[in-house]
Amino acid sequence: MTLPLRVTPTLMFGSRRALRLIERNLYVYRRTWIVIVSGFFEPLFYLLSIGFGLGRLVGNVPGPGGTEIPYQLFIAPALLASSSMNGAITEATLNFFFKLKYQKTFDSILSTPLSVADIALGELGWALIRGALYTVGFLGVMVILSIGVSPWLLLTLPAALLISFAFGAVGMAATSFMRTWQDFDLIQLVVLPMFLFSGTFYPLDAYPDAFRIVVQLTPLYQGVDLLRSLAVGVVGPSAIVHVAYLTVMGIAGLVVVSRRLDKLLLK
């Protein structure tokens, strides 16, 4: 039980040292800011293409609570959820692995007063800041195109960040077990089917019962359903379940990653 204790205090009070890592990343990206900016356009292109282009052919689909909603409103929150997942996963797997194994960024950071927990928190904090920028941008587009109008929409921001947190922490934990770049295909093996089948593009009633239950257990479905019910404004008790699920998932990932990093970096 010492591990969660070691992680939670920094989590709750914030370690000022972890901020140094965020500052470092700001400096690094000052030269390649276009990479950061470009991340905003990906979900936007998907929204315009699948939501509006294909959406014309789809018409209305059953949304949360069974009421028919326009396809754009159905897919926009799902795209936000999956881009939160994808953004966090990319940062926490490929980029994290590169810094860990090749650039040896963390080894040099550890020669300063920063601790392993500071690194985990700092990297996660950075991923969340990026996620927050994209989410605000995407929500702005949703409002301008008047796709979502529910006052609950405001809660989409923390909810999307929760998704980034959960996937970022678990992604980092998984990365700490990776040996080569080829191992990352295993991550794709999990992420791509989740992206396609978690009720992102169409309602779950297309599935047989058994498969629907499996899908409902996936973390992306939790996120998609949470954001969708907020965007549509039909919020029920299931939202609490989703929030709890994602929170536990993120904390579990964080515990694993700080234990693993200790081993990998300090051994």
């Binding site: 052919l57 018409g59 689909v61 295909d185 791509l192």
Partner: protein, 259 residues
């Protein structure tokens, strides 16, 4: 020709060690995409908007487009990291240049290898299309070379550009602002007639649209309905490949000779 085959041999030996990782992307991903988008989402499209697809089911409409688009994405990847790796990271191209191979052999050998990789991906995808029952003509087999041609219309110019780069920083921009929008707006997921009027001529500029339209004509056997347009597609794509292959030979040569 003999010299070129040594480059191919090198790439093949290299590929044998890492092919495991490409199995997922080239086989499973078309199956997953066609199941989710073609069948899952397609159910909703067919229910309400089938007329816009000219009587096709959404699966039939999507499959050929996705074939061309998938090959395009693979080409973009093959034309960036392996090229910059050969010229900057592992410097295998420089090593080859130290042998009797000429820069031209090295450039063409790598482009031919790219075409072979794309043909493998296209073949697997075509088998999946047939298994899904989305092919309507024996001409579906010709979809493979056409998809490769489409892919090379991206692979060759991007390779020419990659050879001028020393870091991969700009690649992200190519993928995000080039490949992804083309993937989404070139008639792959919905007919370009559904785009706002002013955007339709823009879609004609997309090499992917030419590839998608041509592949669709072959897979569905509707080629004969508009033979002139189909011929135009072939001419556009072949011209792009020819010009940019020349450009790629030039840029790779320049990097090898002048450093």
């Amino acid at each position: 020709m003999a010299a070129l085959s040594h480059v191919l041999e090198h790439r093949a030996v290299q590929y044998r060690r890492t092919f495991r990782s490409s199995v997922f992307s080239s086989f499973l991903s078309p199956v997953l995409f066609l199941t989710a988008m073609g069948l899952g989402l397609g159910g909703y499209v067919d229910r309400s908007g089938g007329a816009a697809l000219g009587g096709l089911t959404y699966l039939q409409f999507l499959a050929p487009g996705l074939l061309a688009a998938t090959v395009m994405q693979a080409a973009a990847f093959e034309a960036t990291f392996p090229i910059i790796g050969g010229l900057n990271w592992q410097r295998t191209f420089h090593a080859m240049y130290a042998t009797p191979l000429s820069p031209r052999d090295i450039a063409l050998g790598n482009l031919v290898w790219m075409a072979i990789r794309l043909a493998m991906i296209a073949t697997v995808f075509t088998v999946v299309i047939i298994a899904f029952g989305a092919a309507h003509s024996p001409l579906v087999v010709l979809g493979i070379p056409v998809a490769v041609l489409t892919g090379m219309a991206f692979g060759a110019p991007i390779a020419a550009y990659s050879a001028t780069q020393r870091t991969p920083n700009k690649f992200n921009v190519i993928f995000r602002f080039g490949i992804t929008p083309l993937f989404l707006f070139s008639g792959t997921f919905f007919p370009i007639e559904s785009l706002p009027g002013f955007l339709q001529p823009v879609a004609w500029l997309s090499p992917l649209w030419h590839g998608v339209d041509l592949t669709r004509g072959l897979v569905l056997g509707t080629l004969g309905q508009n033979p002139v347009a189909m011929l135009a597609h072939v001419i556009v794509l072949t011209t792009i490949v020819a010009v940019s292959t020349w450009a790629a030979v030039r840029t790779i040569e320049r990097r090898l000779v002048r450093g």
